[in-house]
């Protein structure tokens, strides 16, 4: 049974944290995951680093470059995660760009995810229509949920289409931006959050991009099921290392 839908049914606002696998050090992956779960995080996005992360701002770019220098690869990541389900029970999602998955083989990738106990994938540069036509059957065969993004510019019609082919949650990008760029949400974003909430979609929404602290977490989850923090957590890792994850999460959840 996939852990994402079960988690989404819990009667609380969800905190999801993104980190780049292989950063700060190559072997931090499992420690970070375990510490995040212990600190009360609901869901984790494990970033598979890519040389050319188009949708990411400087913070995640730099962590990806460093992770690759540290020696992170798809094989290494899968190897690090092979026993993760012995200690961790919250939903785990791999977020990465399409080319490394394509080189690994999309079917092999999904199969490996199932073996390890990865629940979902977020692939920003795999377009919805290509997924729908070419890869949906493979994902379903291995019970992997594919999570799609929407943005303030996404048309109503397209949102409904995305909702119709989603079976976990919809990743709502908070503003027209790459990761890590915004500071605080204004009226424009709040209106967008409300507009989407009012659409009464089948899939719950989780908001990401630009969430960095308790205030933005509360603003985002006022209109959505949960929120995702990425760049702010990477910055925390850069400054404080992996030992003080607990204090970071406490500050968000307050």
């Amino acid at each position: 049974m996939n852990r994402i839908p079960t988690k989404l049914k819990e009667d609380k606002k969800l905190l999801s944290i993104y980190f780049t696998a292989g950063y700060p050090s190559l072997d931090d992956t499992t420690t970070i995951i375990q510490n995040l779960e212990k600190s009360g995080v609901d869901m984790i996005e494990i970033g598979l680093p890519f040389s050319d992360p188009l949708a990411d701002g400087p913070t995640i770019q730099a962590s990806s470059t460093q992770a690759l220098k540290n020696g992170m690869t798809t094989e290494v990541l899968f190897d690090q995660l092979k026993d993760i389900r012995k200690t961790v029970s919250i939903p785990l999602i791999i977020m990465g760009y399409f080319n490394p998955m394509l080189q690994y083989g999309v079917e092999d990738f999904c199969k490996k995810c199932q073996e390890i106990g990865i629940d979902g994938l977020i692939i920003p540069d795999l377009p919805v229509d290509v997924y729908h036509e070419q890869y949906k059957a493979i994902f379903e065969k291995y019970g992997i949920i594919n999570v799609f993004l929407i943005t303030p510019q996404t048309s109503m019609e397209r949102i409904h289409f995305i909702d119709s082919i989603s079976n976990g949650f919809i990743y709502m990008v908070s503003s027209a931006s790459v990761t890590g760029s915004s500071s605080g949400f204004g009226e424009e974003q709040t209106n967008y959050f409300k507009r989407i909430a009012d659409m009464q979609l089948n899939n719950p929404q989780v908001i990401g991009f630009g969430i960095s602290n308790n205030e933005t977490f509360i603003q985002a989850t006022a209109h959505a099921k949960g929120a995702i923090i990425g760049s702010a957590f990477i910055k925390h890792l850069t400054n404080k290392g992996v030992s003080q994850i607990d204090s970071f999460v406490k500050n968000i959840l307050n």
Binding site: D52, A55, G57, A62, M101, L149, T151, T154, A176, S177
Partner: protein, 393 residues
């Protein structure tokens, strides 16, 4: 066999639009409009007028007598080097700036490697009075100082790309990120037949004027519209796409694509994408690209900054895969010597990119009666320092 794009935006299995959702509205707006806009008589008129009066088209198709004699075949040079700003790049930027205006955009972004496309973009932005931001790798900024100065004189803002390997591929990433951050008022002028659909097709159509002219010019020279060979260098592939365009479906015309081998295809310092690349996704397009086994994009090398790209346009990936075009890799040394030879034989200093194409004559034997049209994509002014350093003039 069909060698041009299909209605879904693919050349065979290559192409498509592998873009984050954040780019979808921009790219979709362009996809829905580009053919319609290009077909408007007003657009055509303005485009052709500017190509004529501002760019200086048609560019001559010059019979290179001494070069022909040396290699015992008939060589015609398509003189894109004589265009305003010194290369074929301006054909595309003129087209795209008119497109941007039709779409109501008033902020223009571009990527550049050597700076040729950056200069061509800055030029048309000055012409139209539009804001221009050019992304350029920090390393390229240092090695292409004159073009950086040109862009600044033309009023453009040059933003250094500090991420990754700080060259063309990273400048392209930064331009794409800018477009994500500015989805409404901005048009991204891509400089070659790369990127997500519809870019490869749109850029190829703007460059297609090159082969359109070759047809009637050859008619004047030779009494026939079709050459036996068309030769062009391939970085992303735009000058080649333009030179091939009207001959794509006519297999009597043989197409030769020249890639940069750098220090040698097996040296680890090369940009010969067709040999070293594997199918994958780069900058929103499924194509051939140089990458690790793990799918990380690798950094190419060539003495020519304009050929120093780890991918190739999807049209060319298809031409390679189907065997429609013959791909030949030329090293730095072969290119530099061929460039110098053209100076001595014809009094033309070519861009180092074009010098790669010229090196074909040392690699491949043509028949005396063969008509070989070679795309002389640019002039060598921008490369003077490279030539000086190489030959120690």
């Amino acid at each position: 066999m069909n060698y041009n794009i299909n209605e879904k935006g693919y050349y065979g299995e290559f192409g498509g639009a592998y873009i984050p959702e954040m780019l979808y509205p921009n790219v979709e707006e362009l996809r829905q409009n580009y053919l319609k806009v290009m077909a408007e008589p007003e657009f055509q008129k303005e485009f052709n007028q500017l190509l004529k009066d501002y760019v200086g088209r048609p560019s001559p198709l010059y019979f290179a007598k001494r070069l022909s004699k040396k290699y015992n075949t008939k060589v015609y040079l398509k003189r894109e080097d004589l265009n305003h700003t010194g290369a074929h790049k301006i054909n595309n930027t003129i087209g795209q700036i008119l497109m941007a205006k039709r779409l109501g955009k008033h902020r223009i972004i571009a990527e550049t490697g050597a700076g040729q496309h950056g200069v061509a973009t800055a030029t048309v932005c000055a012409l139209m009075g539009l804001e221009c931001i050019v992304y350029m790798g920090e390393i390229d900024i240092a090695r292409q100082a004159p073009n950086v100065a040109r862009m600044k004189m033309l009023g453009a803002t040059v933003v250094p790309a500090l991420s990754g390997s700080r060259t063309l591929k990273d400048a392209t990433n930064e331009a794409i990120r800018d477009w994500i951050n500015n989805p409404v008022d901005t048009h991204y002028i891509i400089g070659s037949v790369v990127g997500p659909h519809p870019y490869p097709d749109m850029v190829a159509r703007f460059q297609a004027v090159v082969s359109e002219e070759i047809q009637w010019q050859l008619q004047e020279h030779e009494g026939k519209t079709n050459p036996d060979y068309v030769v062009a260098c391939v970085g992303g592939g735009s000058n080649a796409a333009g030179a091939y365009y009207h001959f794509l479906e006519n297999t009597d015309v043989k197409l030769i694509a020249i890639e940069a081998a750098g220090l040698g295809v097996d040296s680890g310092e090369s940009a010969a994408t067709s040999v070293l690349g594997k199918e994958g996704i780069i900058h929103g397009s499924k194509t051939l690209l140089m990458q690790t086994n793990d799918g990380q994009i690798t950094e190419p090398y060539s003495i020519s900054a304009g050929l120093d790209y780890p991918g190739v346009g999807p049209m060319h990936a298809h031409l390679y895969k189907t065997g429609r075009a013959e791909f030949i890799a030329i090293t730095d040394d072969q290119a530099m010597n061929a460039g110098l030879e053209l100076c001595k034989l014809e009094g033309i200093i070519p861009a180092i990119e074009s010098s790669h194409a010229l090196a074909v004559f040392e690699q491949k034997k043509f028949q005396p009666e063969d008509v070989v049209v070679l795309s002389l994509s640019g002039r060598g002014d921008k490369d003077l320092q490279n030539y000086i350093d190489y030959f120690k003039f």
